[in-house]
């Protein structure tokens, strides 16, 4: 229990630092944030009154804590371009991104883990060479270009799947089981899954190869266990490392899917970020970045905790 508490306490200053950075985003934005609010013929007194009303006349540190207080209450401000609460916009968009990620990550895990284990069981064979070589290529693969290529193949050449958009959302929030919704999600999910698959395959291979050289494997073999049983022992040990990789990839996908979402016009968090930038909508930009970064921090924390549960050696870490 103390271990859980310690890790949570370690994550708190980082979360606070993240909020400072997000707050500072407004400051590096060029132009006066009040430019759109203050009428051009306003007197100095009016400007001062408006500044006071928005709290801009107070010291920056006070402004930060007031803003932080609102964030804790779940108020992220109002979007300048749509007039809707930022929290609402971000919530909807993140749900859409999650629909893709929840499809992409398990697929990447299944394929990547299987490839990694197979490559480690037969080192030097064709599959191993594909996995090892594919890792170099996979990391350099721009996933937005993969998206374009998938559109060219599946939407343009073979007309099998829709190129962009999300469809009608007939089956509610998580339409993974309805083909009418699912067909819109397949191509973006594949584009997102590709890089995590390569990374999971590579780290699984490395973890399994490393474990196979340990003494306990020799002991198991000396005790007459079958190769299958040995593999089971090794896989359980490799899982802790693989889970760390998956967690990190999950966080990256939630926050880094902007390029793929742009390719497929998928109305997720990345797409929202693009819209915020296009419209110079600072509250929306700030809110989206804050929520995505907090998800990333929370994911990393969860990964730490899960890893410590699986692998007792990491508890003291």
């Amino acid at each position: 229990m103390s271990n859980v508490l310690r890790r949570v306490l370690l994550a708190l200053p980082i979360a606070l630092g993240v909020s400072v950075v997000c707050f500072a985003v407004v400051d590096i934005a060029p132009g006066d944030p009040l430019e759109t609010v203050v009428p051009p013929d306003a007197t100095a007194a009016t400007i001062a009154a408006i500044k006071h009303a928005y709290g801009f006349d107070r010291p920056i540190i006070v402004q930060y804590f007031i803003w932080l207080g609102h964030v804790f209450e779940g108020q992220l401000g109002t979007s300048i371009s749509t007039g809707r609460p930022v929290a609402l916009e971000v919530g909807e968009a993140i749900a859409n991104t999650f629909r893709l990620v929840v499809l992409a990550v398990p697929a990447a895990l299944l394929v990547g883990y299987a490839m990694g284990v197979a490559a480690a069981r037969f080192p030097g064979r064709l599959l191993d060479q594909i996995v090892s070589g594919g890792a170099v290529v996979g990391i350099s693969l721009p996933n937005y270009w993969v998206g374009v290529m998938l559109v060219i193949l599946f939407a343009v050449q073979w007309s099998l799947l829709p190129a962009t958009g999300m469809g009608q959302l007939s089956a509610g929030a998580f339409g993974i089981f309805a083909w009418a919704d699912l067909r819109f999600m397949i191509l973006p999910a594949i584009s997102l899954a590709l890089i995590p698959t390569g990374i999971i395959a590579r780290s699984t291979r490395a973890a399994v190869l490393d474990l196979l050289s340990h003494d306990f494997v020799l002991t198991l073999r000396a005790n007459g266990l079958s190769e299958g049983a040995i593999t089971r022992h090794v896989l359980r040990n490799a899982l802790a490392q693989v889970i760390a990789v998956i967690g990190l990839q999950f966080g990256y996908l939630m926050g880094g899917s902007i390029l793929v979402e742009t390719v497929f016009s998928w109305p997720g968090s990345g797409f929202l970020l693009g819209r915020a930038i296009q419209n110079r909508d600072v509250p929306l930009l700030q809110g989206t970045v804050l929520v995505l970064a907090m998800i990333f921090v929370a994911t990393n924390l969860a990964v730490d905790l899960v890893q410590a549960t699986i692998d007792p050696r990491l508890r003291r870490g």
Binding site: P142, L273, I277
Partner: protein, 302 residues
């Protein structure tokens, strides 16, 4: 033979098991020899060489002007009337635009990594060598920036600053400083624990002198290898930024921007639209192959 016997006692005294004859050339000469024996690195270097040379000598290499098109040749497939790789939505020659596009794309990929290596490396050495307090302050600040996915951080900073080539490069530099700092810090901490640093300190060398003469030379290997691997990521990210319309403005030829404008014509000339992305991919892969070779040749782990 005779003088070998004479020096034999000295050799035993110094206990040097390695034959002296094997040591020829410098450390970098050795690295270069090992690098040449790796086919992956050679392929990467050759492709990069061609791309870089084509970008530098673009006015002489490119068959057409990259900015002038003809309405008659809008969105044409490969091989149409002397346009080897087709023509884009304004009838501009794709091959020429790809060659010119390499200029901005390569620059935007390499410059942020160089800046981040200098700044992040400096912070890393300061954190690894400057004592506990400096280490805590620098590394905790870096941890905060680690809490952002790299794409998100790059997009948010560029977007907040307004967008443009310079803004994109600044944003990418900021994105690469934390990992660069961490790698340098680890390498510096390892070196500072070694005996020769202790020896230098006990013979009266100041902190700066030790960093200047002993630390930098010893952390340079892992830092350069890591920087070379970052270039591959940087190419992808910077192209991604211009794909989102955040850095390069039209009509400048840039791979990321070309990919995003051509996407609207994906139903007309699909394979022409795939070309700019292929250029990004090939450049990025070449950098990673070269970096992998460098890592192996310089015997850097991790």
């Amino acid at each position: 033979m005779a003088d070998r016997e004479e020096t034999a006692s000295v050799a035993i005294a110094f206990a040097t098991p390695r034959p002296i004859a094997r040591r020829r050339g410098s450390y970098w000469g050795e690295v270069w020899r090992k690098l040449r024996r790796r086919p992956g690195a050679l392929v990467g270097a050759t492709i990069l060489g061609i791309i870089v040379l084509a970008a530098i000598f673009a006015p002489w290499v490119a068959p057409y002007n990259p900015d002038t098109g003809s309405i008659l040749s809008r969105l044409k497939p490969f091989g149409y009337r002397g346009h080897l790789l087709g023509a884009d939505e304004l009838g501009r020659d794709m091959l020429s635009r790809l060659i010119y596009g390499g200029r901005v794309s390569l620059l935007m990929g390499v410059v942020p990594v160089i800046c981040a290596t200098i700044i992040g490396g400096g912070f890393g050495i300061a954190a690894g060598f400057g004592g506990r307090l400096a280490n805590t302050i620098i590394m905790r600040v870096m941890d905060v920036f680690y809490a952002f996915p790299s794409v998100l951080l790059a997009v948010a900073i560029t977007g907040a600053m307004g967008g443009g080539v310079l803004d994109g490069m600044i944003a990418l530099t900021l994105v690469f400083i934390p990992p660069m700092c961490r790698v340098t810090e680890t390498a510096t901490a390892q070196v500072s624990g070694l005996d020769f640093i202790e020896a230098a300190r006990s013979s009266g060398a100041g902190g700066l002198a030790i960093v200047r003469y002993h630390v930098i030379g010893n952390v340079l290997g892992p830092v350069l290898v890591y920087a070379s691997s970052l270039v591959s990521v940087s190419i992808l990210l910077s192209a991604g930024l211009s794909f989102l319309g955040l850095s390069v403005h039209p009509p400048t030829a840039d791979w990321g921007l070309m990919l995003s404008t051509l996407m609207q014509s994906v139903y007309v000339v699909p394979w022409v639209c795939a070309l700019p992305g292929a250029a990004i991919f090939i450049t990025s892969v070449s950098f990673s192959l070269l970096s992998d070779g460098l890592r192996a040749a310089m015997n850097v782990r991790g």
